[in-house]
Assembly symmetry: C2
Homo-oligomer: 389 residues x 2
């Protein structure tokens, strides 16, 4: 069997598929739009495309990457709430109409591409304005992010106080509001994240209606967590809460025609196994274990506090070691962990490492990010140690 | 004149040369080994090579990049104190003999390549061991890093308590100690950093001698600062302190045959001007200015607290804005600054941005790092706004 030089990020094709199907089962009426920022490897995109997945992007480059892989424009959403004016236009030229905003400033950029209030959903796709399809603006609202490891609010999202000014602007300029969207924050580890977000969404719909706006799309963003060694809600549990809200809304006469969920980490995270090696050890005040992967070669999220479940080739006595990367940079430190007493050559495998790792890698100091290797199925993670040199 | 799409990192060729010559003047007896990790663009390497510069590396990939550009092996030092065993060997195969260490664990890897204690400097280069040149081990010691924005100690360096065990190991194994090295920390803004480091270096030399070891190389690392808007010592001021110590050592009968300094930021930092654009603004509880460059497109050091001097195309009233990057990532936030009231399309120019920017860039979220453009001389930074679209 072929062996690979560490660091290697092994990806489990079956697991990617299973994660997709698990979410589909939990949220049957939803379009799943995979957040390619979490891991944009073409093979993941191909696998998901075959299952019928749609895709979430933040930039024109991401859109063009998907189009080049045969994804259709109507299967792509652009959920970055702040974009360069030329990016908005370019996306529309490609046919990507679902675009987020969270400020009047961004709405000003949308104005020239906007459909009038009351335009019918069906007609929206048929009609064009100056040769471009109408934009379908999605208001990104702020929701509590307490359950998340990476709270997003602050940088993105309009809170309740800003909604009246936004809706007034849309009313004054006869701009159709297509949808409401939120993000509970990446790796959201509590159901309450979705529950409170959906109550807020309903509040937002009510206020929008007061301005004569009738959103028909609801996009619940991403945030579905992976196993990092703590108790987390399952997709089924998240789905139950979401579906409960949808039913309540239906009783009140609101049935969105378009439902979107944007998982990233949930799809690619648990499918990835990062295998690295100890290159050196220094036992000083604390023990430092230097690995061939580090902050700049994929483990960027560690500086924000993520710790991965791990497996080791070493056995026997454990030792507390500060894991750090191979570069000469002081920032290139990961976290302290109890690991088998490290020595050069030992293997360390990080679980749930398929998302937000390889995509952050630079070539700093001449150390490259992990090579990605796709396997049909990874039944026993431990066996991956046999596939590396 | 050709215009470039933002973000662009303009590099001033003359300034690179001038920075090199300024340091050469401040530290005449020193070999200057440019730390290519700060900015490894081939054009910088070519400019410095012509001036007679040597180079500092951390990895085999960096060494091979330099060799491919025609740099000679004896002009390269490998100052990463922790390396994979195969990296040590590979570097020696290439002829790179000056290699750092800071632990007994790393010395164990050096053992097979080591010259005997007492081997003459001249003979060292002539002789070979199993077809490989002898390694020239440099002990990296811990020095105070208080004046530095990025303290390095902890991850690297042996403190005084560890020296006896290290020297005993070298004595027991008849391993020649070639030199002592330290690093005052990147962007060291106080002369005291070098002063205290050199007292410690002398202490280390004395203790080494007690074990029969006679280091002949002194490598004072990098750390020379650039203008980030605060008072900083000049190269001449740093040089004065260093030369004073060398003279004191000479009086005590110690004259190193090999002196090395490893500037990175000092050479490339002030020569770089990063021009970016505001892509969007959101006025909420605070004002957020979204730029086309951010943490993942070069401004990585901002998450560790760096703030750059800036110029703006906007004029008039100022506003406090949180500068952030174009990606959908919550980590992609830089810092709060007083800037001309931002609107989409405004230009923002970051000064002293030639080092530790482009080298950290990934392609996260489809946003690329700054394009690098070399100009012969940048007399007025403001004119760079005319060179971008």
């Amino acid at each position: 069997m072929a062996t690979h030089e560490t660091p290697v990020l092994f990806m489990d094709r079956s697991r990617i598929r299973e994660n997709y199907l698990e979410l589909k089962k939990a949220l049957p009426p939803f379009r799943i739009a995979y957040a390619i920022k979490s891991n944009s490897h073409p093979e993941i995109i191909e696998i998901l495309k075959k299952e019928g997945s749609h895709f979430e992007t933040a930039s024109v480059a991401e859109i063009e990457k998907l189009l080049a892989l045969g994804v259709k424009a109507e299967e792509i959403v652009l959920s970055n709430p702040v974009k360069a004016p030329q990016a908005i236009r370019r996306a529309l030229e490609h046919g990507v109409t679902i675009q987020s905003f969270d400020s009047v400033e961004e709405l000003e950029k949308f104005k020239e591409f906007s459909a009038p209030i009351g335009a019918e959903e069906g007609g929206l796709f048929a009609e064009k304005k100056d040769g471009l399809p109408y934009i379908r603006p999605q208001l990104r609202i702020v929701v509590p992010n307490e359950g998340s490891m990476w709270p997003l609010s602050g940088k993105f999202g309009a809170d309740e106080e800003l909604w009246p000014a936004i809706f007034q602007y849309m009313k004054d300029n006869n701009m159709r509001l297509d949808g409401i969207t939120f993000h509970p924050g990446s790796q959201c580890e509590t159901i309450a994240g979705w529950d409170s977000a959906l109550y807020l969404t309903w509040r937002c719909i009510e206020i929008a209606r007061e301005y004569g706006l009738n959103p028909t799309t609801i996009n619940i963003g991403g945030g579905l967590p992976v196993n990092l060694g703590r108790k987390i809600p399952t997709a089924a549990q998240v789905g139950k809460v979401v579906i409960r809200h949808l039913k309540e809304w239906e009783k009140k006469g609101f049935k969105p025609s378009n439902l979107i969920v944007e998982p990233g980490r949930f799809i690619s995270g648990s499918a990835g196994y990062l295998v690295s090696r100890v290159v050196g050890v220094a036992r000083r005040e604390k023990t430092w274990a230097f690995l061939d992967c580090g902050v700049f070669t994929g483990m960027m999220e560690t500086i924000d506090g993520i710790t991965y479940p791990m497996l080791f080739t070493g056995t026997g006595e454990k030792e507390t070691a500060m894991l750090c990367g191979p570069s000469c940079d002081s920032v290139d430190k990961m976290y302290e962990a109890q690991i088998s007493k490290p020595k050069p050559g030992d293997g360390i495998l990080f679980l749930s490492a398929g998302a937000y790792t390889s995509v952050y890698a630079s070539e700093f100091n001449g150390f490259l990010g992990p090579k990605m290797v796709f396997l049909d199925q990874i039944a026993d993670a431990r066996e991956l140690f046999n596939l590396v040199t």
